[in-house]
Symmetry: C2
Subunit: 149 residues, 2 copies
């Protein structure tokens, strides 16, 4: 297992990639973000985005899935998250885009009251042209090694 | 239509409510956040959460759906968002919880280059016991009245 103590400030990793389909964009937006530029390819053409784009929350959800899959591969002892410090949707995500997620650990501190620690990470997701589509600062909670506290 | 110019700093509104089912929690998490405390009711009992909880990103997606539905009712001229300034998942969301979303406009400023304006809002989502489960500061973009620029 990778515990809180095993995270080093400055460590970076490419967590994975995923291609986003139009079908998936429409399905997510239909449930959670039914604005025409997310749900209607024709209406989206007339919008300021010039075509269908993924909901920003869908982009975040994809980021999360890539993170969780990577967490499982690395056997990280994750126990949730208190939140996100900032999130910027810098460029639209369009059908067929392939997104690649990179994480850099920027801070780590132990809880004063629980056998866990907090890890702050800078997450950057780029499309197939190397353009950053999502820039996010997230906090994760991880179990400590037994007896570490 | 409610344009950028029609938002007033300090205005508050209750945007809507929604009850979250276990089925929906499992479906979202299975796709986007497959950590055991989001996907497996039995495993979740043994977690620090003591039972199944919704993915934080699912909570954000529900917040977005309530916002979009309210935006449509109020005919707000929304054209997307550059991002979120902060997001805190303050309490777990559990199956059967009924969430109610409140928005307060905290800042509004016009774009210098485009016929839109930015509106910063403090979003607060509470459960049926009045406990805040999500506290979020979001930025929305809205069209300006024609000729306003």
């Amino acid at each position: 297992m990778k515990y809180f103590e095993d995270f080093a400030v400055g460590e970076t990793a490419v967590l994975g990639s995923r291609t986003v389909s139009e079908e998936e964009i429409l399905a997510f937006a239909g449930k959670y973000d039914p604005q025409p530029f997310h749900t209607d390819p024709e209406a989206a053409k007339a919008s300021i985005f010039g075509g269908l784009i993924a909901s920003g929350w869908h982009t975040c959800a994809i980021m999360m899935r890539l993170s969780v899959d990577a967490m499982e591969r690395a056997m990280e002892a994750g126990v949730g998250s208190p939140g996100v410090d900032s999130c910027r949707w810098l460029r639209p995500v369009r059908p067929g885009d392939t997104l690649t997620l990179k994480r850099e650990v920027t801070e780590a501190w132990p809880s004063r009251t629980k056998p866990i620690g907090f890890v702050r990470s800078h997450m950057e997701m780029r499309n197939q042209r190397g353009e950053v589509v999502l820039d996010l600062v997230a906090i994760g909670m991880f179990r400590r090694r037994e007896g570490a506290a």
